[in-house]
């Protein structure tokens, strides 16, 4: 019995209709394509009226197949499948045609675009006739969650889930959670002390009964899929027994080896070989840095071991691999600071009184290397003038094209701190001022009133080559003041470079482990930049915080909470429906050649030694179809992407081409004879 097709061509306002003659396509489809019972065009198919139209037609016209020619299936496939389901037509008997992203939006030639639209509609129509009803497979959602990254976004996500009663494994690569926020002095625009607002959350995480905190650990491997991931975590050896350690700190006090702390103190302060990154670290269990420890270097010392009152030093400790099962993963891996030495004209690393933004944060911080005093590199002289240079590495075609979102506000913050703590003049050299969130513009006004100087111009050079006697001993900032229209040389004592935020160096690698990708700039790709910024293309893997793109603390907190909410939703439902796009092997026809066995990266094909046939483990199959294409006997079928469907789609797409052979294989039509039928029936 022939199928009964309904074809719906969407105008999408003028998005499609502006270039593709949608009425003509609908009219043509109704008269040209076989088995089409209903062919309509409509302004907005995704609207409730549009969906109702489909549902009504299914009922009244007894449609057995539906084709919706509209936008990308990545946007509305679910919408139209749901409409079909509401009308009791199996959702997998619906096919979308991408007339917008792939057709109307990429062409200005109306004739050509309409012709292309027709071909794409024909392809879908031919394909859908061969589609079969399928049922999504329910998978139980493991209520445990893995959060990777213990910065503010990761902490927020963890607390939301833990407070809701679900267990969270929080993995953090450094010895303590807190992230970059722990390094800051104050936060804009409220000028709250950063540590004061962060540490309560850190404590909560550390003490929460629903949180397993795995610091000094890395995510090694991820396998499985949404609802049931298996992850491997490498817990690096701290050389301290966590159960025995009380955090008393005697080991750190007595350790004879002091080294420059390049991480937390940004190279301005010191730490010991055995250390916690900062006093409020969570957990308060120190770590021995193998690279600087005397024992690991030449087998002497062991002072920490001798002096520890609870015998918590364990110099023979080894890395441990921990295997966990979780339902979802939230990546909140944050960022690293751009290396300003890549812009040598600003003197970073060469001229002593040029500081990076992170160094300056540490200077301002009361618990920092100068106890909060803003001083020059000599550690004692207060500057009389400070220059703050915006956009170092950001908005720069040679480095990062993007804007790092927070530096303008951070520059204002620094300006305020300089004015508050010193008698110095402070200058901001900016391209644009971007205080665009709640309270930010007001903060900018405040700094204008406080007397901060603003020069609109990207600085050309910071140099100590003086030309006039008054410049001796100063750093000269050479800039074109674009509002005055003049070159200026401004002598200052201290320069602060607002370096860009950049993705972590191994962000891409980590993303690939989880099956997600990065944008060209290196930030994780969200499912939809406007409407779905915390989900990714891979179900069950979420992103939150700066790893998705530069943003400030409130936005990171929001994303952490949003990702947690998503996960909570899935846990509350208890099961998640997996697309039934899986492979299956016709065991009667399988000859046991086992070519397919080694093609599957998910080990989803097993070999039955007794029956001597291969079999797909449906729960592990991800539906890529490689085995389907590889089977020499053609006995593997890929559900919803089987050979017959794709060949029909090809035939439909080439409806207006001239077949080259008189006896062209049946693509556009049903097979004419049994032999061809059996040849096509497999796959």
């Amino acid at each position: 019995m022939a199928e009964r097709l309904g074809i719906y061509v969407c105008h999408c306002g003028s998005n499609i209709a502006g270039t593709v003659d949608v009425e003509e396509v609908a009219r043509w489809a109704g008269t040209t394509i076989r088995d089409v019972v209903v062919s309509r065009d409509y302004k907005f198919m995704c609207s409730s009226l549009g969906q109702q139209m489909i549902e009504d037609d299914i009922g009244q016209q007894k449609l057995s197949r539906v084709v919706v020619a509209a936008c990308s299936p990545h946007l509305h496939e679910k919408t139209f499948r749901r409409a079909c389901a509401n009308a009791e037509l199996n959702p997998y008997l619906c096919q979308m045609v991408n007339l917008r992203e792939h057709c109307s939006w990429v062409s200005t030639d109306k004739v050509a675009a309409t012709a292309k639209a027709k071909a794409l509609v024909y392809a879908a129509a031919e394909r859908v006739k061969w589609q079969e009803p399928l049922e999504p497979m329910p998978v139980k959602v493991n209520p445990n969650t893995l959060v990777v990254g213990g910065g503010i976004a990761g902490i927020q996500a963890t607390l939301e889930l833990a407070d809701a009663g679900y267990h969270v494994y929080l993995v953090e690569r450094s010895p303590s959670i807190g992230g970059h926020m722990a390094q800051f002095d104050k936060t804009f625009p409220t000028l709250d002390c950063s540590a004061c607002i962060l540490t309560p959350k850190m404590s909560e995480v550390g003490q929460h009964e629903n949180v397993t905190l795995l610091t000094y650990s890395e995510l090694e491997e991820v396998s499985g899929s949404v609802g049931s991931f298996k992850v491997k975590i490498r817990k690096k050896a701290r050389y301290v027994d966590e159960a025995a350690c009380t955090g008393c700190g005697i080991c750190m006090e007595k350790c004879p080896r002091r080294v420059i702390d390049h991480d937390f103190e940004a190279g301005l302060g010191y730490r010991k070989a055995i250390y916690t990154p900062f006093p409020q670290a969570v957990p308060r269990i120190p770590v021995i840095d193998v690279a600087s420890c005397i024992w690991f270097d030449r087998g002497k010392c062991r002072a920490c071991e001798k002096l520890c009152p609870t015998n918590a030093i364990a110099l023979d400790q080894e890395d441990k691999i921990i295997e966990l099962e979780v339902g979802n993963v939230i990546l909140a891996t944050g960022w690293q600071l751009f290396d300003s030495r890549k812009l040598p004209q600003f003197g970073c690393g060469r001229l002593p009184n040029v500081f990076t933004n992170m160094e300056f944060e540490r200077l301002c911080n009361a618990a920092g290397p100068t106890n909060g005093k803003i001083v020059l590199r000599d550690g004692k002289t207060e500057p009389e003038s400070v220059a703050i240079l915006h956009c170092i590495g950001s908005r720069d075609v040679n480095h990062h094209e993007y804007c790092s979102a927070v530096c303008c506000m951070a520059a204002l913050k620094f300006g305020h701190l300089v004015l508050e703590k010193t008698k110095a003049q402070v200058y901001s050299f900016y391209i644009d001022m971007r205080p665009n969130q709640k309270g930010y513009e007001e903060f900018y006004q405040r700094l204008l009133e406080e007397g901060m100087h603003f020069v609109r111009g990207k600085v050309a050079e910071v140099t100590d080559a003086t030309r006039l006697p008054a410049e001796r001993g100063k750093l000269i900032v050479q800039v074109e003041d674009t509002l005055l229209g003049r070159q200026r040389r401004i002598p200052v004592d201290m320069v602060v470079l607002m370096g860009a935020m950049e993705p972590q160096p191994d962000a891409k690698e980590l993303g690939l482990k989880c099956g997600i990708s990065c944008s060209m700039a290196g930030w994780y790709t969200e499912r939809h930049p406007k409407l779905d910024p915390v989900a990714t293309m891979t179900d069950g893997i979420f992103i939150a915080g700066v790893c998705q793109g530069p943003k400030d603390i409130p936005a990171s907190v929001v994303q952490g909470a949003a990702a947690a909410a998503r996960v909570q939703g899935m846990i509350a439902k208890g099961t998640v429906m997996i697309e039934p796009i899986v492979a299956s092997i016709n065991e009667d026809a399988c000859s046991g050649c086992r070519i397919c066995n080694n093609l599957c990266p998910f080990n989803a094909i097993e070999f039955d030694g007794e029956k001597k046939v291969s079999r797909v483990i449906t729960a592990l199959c991800k539906g890529c179809g490689t085995c389907v294409a590889a089977c020499p006997a053609g006995v593997i079928t890929g559900a919803h992407f089987n050979n017959r469907q794709i060949l029909a789609e090809i035939g439909g797409a080439l409806w207006d081409a001239s077949p080259v052979l008189d006896d062209a294989p049946a693509g556009a039509d049903e097979p004419a004879d049994e032999e061809a039928e059996s040849a096509l029936s497999a796959g």
Binding site: P73, E101, H102, V106, A112, S517, M537, I581, A629, A657
Partner: protein, 166 residues
Amino acid sequence: MSDNPTFEPKILGFCCNWCSYRAADLAGTARIKYPTNVRIIRVMCSGRIDPTFVLNAFALGADAVMIAGCHPGECHYVDQNYKAMRRYGMLKHTLRQMGIEEGRFRLVWASAAEGQQLAEAITQMVDEVRKLGPLAWAANWQENGQRLEALEAIVHEHAEAMEVLA
């Protein structure tokens, strides 16, 4: 060479759901303009592409075929695009035997962020195929009677390829 000034090739494109299909979506969202000659068929992975799909496409009148997938090392299904690469190599070989010119079959890598690059690759390919002209190889064979010879050559070459040299 094409002597038909208004010839517009019909090209079939296979895009993998995760990278290249999304790259094509991105090209659309960014309103990047490229020729309409490529008709895209979605598969979950470039590894799904059975060589018979490509051969069928040519047989049904496609002037060229493009396969687009994730960059090596970035396949959503780990390394299935390498299988696509292998099949591509084998197919190129076969198609050459049938007299199908180099420019008519192309493999392109495009990550989900590379809408611009995919659009450029499509534009280049369309230009090249336009210059090559319509695919009419069977007509050619029938004209100069080389069809049987060409078919025999394929069989012979594959037999040689299967020989294991000591």
